[in-house]
Symmetry: C2
Subunit: 266 residues, 2 copies
DNA sequence: GTTTCCATTTCGTCA
DNA sequence: TGACGAAGTGGAAAC
């Protein structure tokens, strides 16, 4: 493997002068790199922040995104989204890397006092990412299999506009009652029940049929139960996991998109 | 510097067997590490996902957090929050690292086919992180300096409970009218105006005084202007940046916390 | 471009 | 521990 096609080049414990030239070269060639070192971080933009010196992992990606990670925690302590412009310079403080974003104007500055290692990257990632069982996927699973909600249910419209917003699903029960479905992919709170009730009220003037509001969610918060009774709504438990399984069996997304487009005006 | 106190140990292009032992050791010693390599990723939990093979940066932190980053984009394509348990094993597929989270039960599996480099970490980060100009800072700035809103205004309560939720600030204007303040740190939309109107309505039954609702934000969305007129609300422009400047002058956070605690029941 | 809403949101606080 | 709201939220779709 030739040096130019190496996936990762490592420089350990470089002097800051050396580090500067390695980083400048990477930035110039639009290559990503990972720097692990002792640094301070300043941020000015929508808000302002100051991070005192410590050991961090700094990732600068080829698209101009920046992530500053502490040794613990999920989220970066500071960051910059893709599309940044960079400046590096030596100061008596150390080695500074500034990432500038326009619109909104935001500046992130990382000042390295010591660098333990630089990983220069030359990565290729063509892999497709598939995500299943978002709220939308739950909706699709119900359209594919309305009996998930109740036997004999027929879905008649998807994302129907009903002034306060959009009703997730509408349908007809086997007794011919209008069914309004609100989907939540996690434990439904009061807000979901209230929202559904508003939809039901908003639709009443437009139909002679009796209306049932059904809240579909894996669970409801315990204080929602009495509210459902008050508002005369029903609750049907349905987990995103079960929806994912159904979608895994029937990967007919194109048909679904067709339905979604054409059932709007039902 | 002794080997044991090295901040970062690098292993380049290890065989998967060697990589496995390095990673096992890191996990056992609760050390974080960064692996750059060619891998597939599977996730099962609140949702499900599959990521086809490609080059990625995988960070496993000492607190059991996992981040899988592609060569571009701000956010990790897959992740796991702190507190995971790990299993590693060799398969004919490659080297698998499973990160398991309980509650909710979620499993993230990274299967490496090739590893370009492993950075084993031994980092120390005691630096304090300061963030200015959050919404809470705006609130504090107004309490410290109510004339930011209008001369003669006196703040009487903070985060007062008012059934739909909590009113950011309440006060009395110099003409003796009750002032209800809703703060947004960015451009306020319809929702903010509606929320404020609800608070005003909710408070009316409890006072003889005339009530003014003031929306405080750097700006308002253009369709909110007529809504404000309809709802008889006022708008006072105020930027988080200006608030940050005021707080920088008066770093009396403790006094503020005291106020916040004791004005609840006004 | 702006607005709105979802997210494997995450992250805090508070009851 | 659950519930609720803010975030330098980010991101996508709709208008």
């Amino acid at each position: 493997m030739k040096k130019e096609t190496k996936h990762v080049s490592v420089v350990e414990k470089p002097l800051l002068e050396h580090a500067e030239s390695v980083i400048r070269k990477s930035l110039l060639e639009h290559r990503g790199f990972v720097v692990i070192g002792f640094c301070e971080v300043d941020y000015r933009g929508r808000a302002s922040s100051k991070l005192e010196a410590g050991d961090r992992i700094v990732i600068i990606k080829e698209d101009g995104a920046v992530l500053v990670h502490r040794p613990t925690e999920y989220s970066p302590v500071n960051w910059q989204p893709p599309g940044c412009l960079f400046e590096t310079r030596r100061t008596n403080e150390g080695l500074s890397i500034r990432a500038v974003r326009r619109k909104p104007r935001e500046v992130l500055e990382v000042i390295f006092k010591k660098i333990y290692v630089i990983n220069t990257l030359n990565l290729t990632d063509k892999g497709v990412f598939y995500l299943f069982a978002s709220e939308e996927d739950m909706q699709k699973a119900i359209v594919l299999n309305p009996s998930l909600i109740e036997p004999g249910l027929r879905i008649t419209s998807i994302e129907k506009k009903v002034e306060p917003g959009f009703v997730d699903l509408c349908g007809l029960s086997k007794e011919g009652r209008l069914v309004i479905i609100e989907i939540k992919r996690k434990t439904a709170g009061k807000d979901a029940a209230i929202q559904l009730a508003k939809y039901v009220e908003a639709i009443k003037p437009f139909t002679e049929r009796e209306i049932r509001g059904i809240l579909v969610a894996p669970d409801i918060a315990k204080d929602v139960q009495p509210l459902l009774a008050t508002l005369k709504l029903e609750f049907k438990p349905l987990s995103p996991k079960k929806c994912a399984e159904i979608l895994n069996k029937r990967r007919t997304v194109k048909i679904l998109d067709y339905l979604k487009t054409n059932m709007q005006n039902v």
